[in-house]
């Protein structure tokens, strides 16, 4: 029969039309919030989603996964008396690994001796060249540069980020990437413990012949 295929297709759209209401009503009946709640957003990104698929940004947001990457930022530890201890040692590996070469680091030197100091005097990332590939964070040996989750950074002018703009506390990092943070902290502690043990062993070794 001519028109059967069209009717078949219409049945699909018809079903999807009613699905929106059925899903909304079933959530309302069970007293759960389908909109503006984490549970609702999760449901809409799961395999069972049907009906309305829209996430009403900015009122509600998709839950970004931990690995999500946007622009990089520099991590600093909050030392005593609120001093910012920048983790970066200006080794330059991120600048070398960067595919579009959008990172450049100004090294600082001690004003008295003139020797280079292991903190960057300034650190620039050209946000309008960065390709968000994450290589800098991946290859940084000091966990000093990480990829940010913040994507609401549109501006009315072209942006080159400097050190001040890039610095964010380690607590922020722990917040956006809890799993990675704990993993790295554990690795660091293990490394320090190994170092201490080695130093102890070395001290013991030097101590023994003397005794």
């Amino acid at each position: 029969m001519y028109g059967k295929g069209i009717l078949k297709g219409l049945s699909v759209t018809w079903k999807r039309f009613w699905d929106t209401y059925i899903d909304d009503i079933s959530w309302a009946v069970s007293g759960r919030k389908r909109y503006h709640s984490e549970e609702g957003v999760k449901h809409r990104s799961s395999k069972n989603t049907k009906g309305i698929f829209t996430v009403q940004y900015p009122e509600e947001q998709l839950i970004v996964p931990e690995e999500f990457r946007f622009l990089p930022f520099l991590v600093y530890d909050e030392g005593a008396d609120g001093k910012k201890e920048v983790r970066c040692t200006s080794c330059g590996i991120c600048a070398k690994a960067c595919p579009p070469q959008c990172i450049w680091i100004v090294r600082s030197s001690d004003p008295v001796t003139g020797k280079p100091v292991a903190t960057p005097a300034d650190f620039y990332i050209d946000a309008d060249i960065c390709m968000n590939c994450g290589f800098c964070a991946e290859y940084c040996p000091f966990d000093a540069i990480k990829m940010d989750h913040d994507f609401d950074i549109a501006s009315t002018k072209r942006s080159v980020y400097n050190l001040e703009r890039l610095l964010k506390p380690a607590s922020y990092y722990a917040e956006i990437r809890p799993l990675n943070y704990t993993m790295e902290e554990e690795a660091r502690k293990a490394k320090e413990a190994a170092k201490a043990a080695k130093a102890q062993a070395a001290a013991a070794a030097t101590a023994t012949p003397a005794a």
Binding site: G5, R16, K47, P99, N132
Partner: protein
């Protein structure tokens, strides 16, 4: 590393003594053919030895030896490893090589590309114009002695970023304070703009007179694009029309030519990986896969077992997603106004969520590394993939089929239009679903297995009519087969390390050449890489399926109606990022 099922060596040097010599450079394979005998040898390669599919052609500039080389990669559609032959010429302009377009029509665009980027003229080519850059552009950019306006250093990483950190913007070093480079004594006011007469001349324009010789009718030249809602990006097509019938057609491209190869030759091997994401931006996972396998071939390293499975899972998810979007977009172009696209993008979002969770980015995944992948897939994400593959996607594919497959209007539009025969498809080097829709069961996952595809049980989807309907339906078949592979891979995936190598941003690749290819959702995605043992490739060429598949468009189109043309572009499934590179 999978071995080709059919390792057949053809000794061209023995067959053509004096005309062909084996390429004896260390790390190189294949044969060097004398320029004068190229046509004869090429004909034999096709007719005598049966290498009917000339997949890739590219140029190499050996500036130190003062030579230009053109490399041909020929394969058999029955599968197996390929035959590489090369032609070398002195690097003195004008450089000329006989064109092989009469043997393999699929070379037309590729030869034009080599002319554009290397300045090698192919004599007897039907339409020798620039292809990616515009007529009148100064120089041939891929030559090693050609420097762009923002030229800083031969290779990355640039010293100015490290260790001194005295970065100045590239603009400030350039006399024009911009990405510009003009020949000396150039006067812009006296410049005569190219009116693209060559382009219109290459189209067949017909002027007809009636019998009395009084009334003259001229066919209409129409330019579709570069900004056109249907062209899937910035492609321009110049068409001559007689009423509504297409009389002649020429695609004009290069509107998204982002100099991928030039930048690639400057970057280190690792730095290229995120650039490959931006080739076919629907399938960054597949692009990574192709590039990484090629380099691994050169480095001769094993891939971690778990990583192999992860790679296959990601590549196949990417294929499912690509084909779903294809279906949505094709129907959109046919005038269904969004409904199928909305449905397709819903599934795409769910798949892209997985990419985001494992790699960090929805589209530009940058997930594969030499020897494995960058990070492990957690059980939670694996469960999400299983949910999709076992529960959701099969049902949604069925729903998509129910939606329009039997729709009488759609069937009327698609059935019997734009037929591409198997012989033509092979001759035009068409690969991927378009080739398989015309009845050639050529799928690299079976024909020249890479990675671990030989472990999975799946069929190569084939349809036999080669028309639009078959091209539409074969995408459903491929989704089904991909889901089959995914189901097996998800069941078999072992535990273990995800990379056999240590993370290293500066790898060295042994000197030599390699051509690696994978079955991307669009067709055969090939990478031709020459390394000199340094940290960056000497030559880096991408054989993009969209680019080569488009060669057949003229053949398919002439004599059909202009309304169907838009659908044809959708059917070829071109992506401009890959087409123009």
């Amino acid at each position: 590393m999978a071995t080709p099922i059919l390792t057949q060596t053809v000794d061209l040097a023995a067959r053509f003594p004096g005309m062909v010599t084996a390429d004896a450079r260390p790390g190189y394979t294949g044969f060097i053919v004398n320029k004068e005998n190229l046509l004869e040898v090429a004909t034999a390669v096709r007719d005598e030895f049966g290498f009917d599919l000339l997949s890739s052609l590219t140029g190499v500039d050996y500036i130190a030896e003062n030579k230009m080389e053109v490399v041909y990669h020929a394969f058999k559609t029955t599968g197996g490893s390929g035959l590489i032959f090369k032609v070398q010429v002195e690097r003195i302009d004008p450089i000329e090589i006989p064109s092989l377009t009469h043997i393999w029509h699929g070379l037309e665009f590729q030869e034009r590309e080599v002319w554009d980027l290397y300045g090698i003229k192919f004599t007897d080519h039907p339409d020798m114009r620039r292809i990616l850059m515009w007529e009148g552009f100064e120089g041939h950019p891929l030559r090693k002695d050609w420097k762009e306006a923002f030229y800083e250093e031969e290779v990355k990483p640039y010293k100015s970023r490290w260790p001194e950190g005295k970065h100045t913007f590239a603009e400030d070093k350039n006399p024009f304070h911009d990405n510009l480079n003009f020949p000396k004594d150039f006067d812009p006011e006296k410049y005569v703009v190219d009116k693209e007469e060559d382009l219109y001349a290459s189209l067949e324009r017909h002027t007809m007179k009636d019998e009395a010789g009084k009334m003259k009718t001229d066919s209409v030249v129409v330019n579709l694009g570069p900004h056109h809602p249907s062209t899937h990006g910035v492609l321009r097509v110049a068409v001559t029309l007689n009423g509504e019938t297409v009389m002649g057609l020429k695609p004009v491209m290069g509107y998204l030519h982002r100099n991928h190869e030039k930048i690639g030759e400057r970057s280190t091997f690792t730095q290229i990986i995120p650039y490959t994401d931006r080739l076919d931006y629907f399938n960054s996972m597949s692009n990574n896969f192709g590039y990484v396998t090629t380099v691994e071939k050169m480095m001769n390293i094993q891939v971690a077992e778990r990583a192999e499975y992860i790679r296959v899972i990601m590549a196949e998810l990417s294929r499912v997603q690509n084909h779903l979007v294809f279906i949505g977009m094709l129907l959109n172009d046919l005038g269904t106004m969004f409904t199928p696209a909305l449905y397709a993008f819903e599934e795409r979002e769910l798949i892209v969520d997985i990419f985001e969770a494992v790699s960090g980015s929805r589209m530009m995944c940058n997930y594969y590394r030499f020897g494995g992948v960058v990070r492990d897939v957690s059980d939670e994400i694996l469960q999400k993939i299983k949910d999709l593959v076992f529960d959701r996607l099969p049902a949604k594919t069925d729903e998509m089929e129910r939606l329009l497959n039997e729709n009488e209007v759609l069937v009327g539009r698609l059935k019997g239009t734009h037929v591409l025969s198997a012989e033509d498809a092979i001759n035009f080097s068409v690969t991927g679903p378009v080739l398989r829709a015309s009845g050639v069961p050529y799928d690299l996952r079976r024909a020249d297995p890479y990675s671990i595809y030989d472990r999975f049980d799946f069929d190569v989807a084939v349809r036999h009519n080669g028309d639009m309907m078959d091209n539409y339906l074969i995408r459903f078949d491929e989704i089904r087969q991909s889901l089959r592979i995914l189901e097996q891979a998800l069941k078999q995936i072992p535990q273990g390390p995800i990379n056999s190598q240590k993370p290293n941003y500066q790898i060295k690749v042994p000197a030599g050449e390699a051509y690696g290819r994978i079955e991307s959702p669009k067709g055969e995605l090939g990478f031709y890489i020459i390394s000199t043992g340094k940290g960056n490739p000497y030559r880096y060429h991408v054989r993009a399926p969209s680019f080569v598949n488009l060669t057949a468009i003229e053949k398919i189109c002439i004599g059909t109606k202009i309304q169907d043309f838009v659908a044809l572009l959708a059917m070829l499934d071109i992506v401009m990022g890959e087409l123009d590179r």
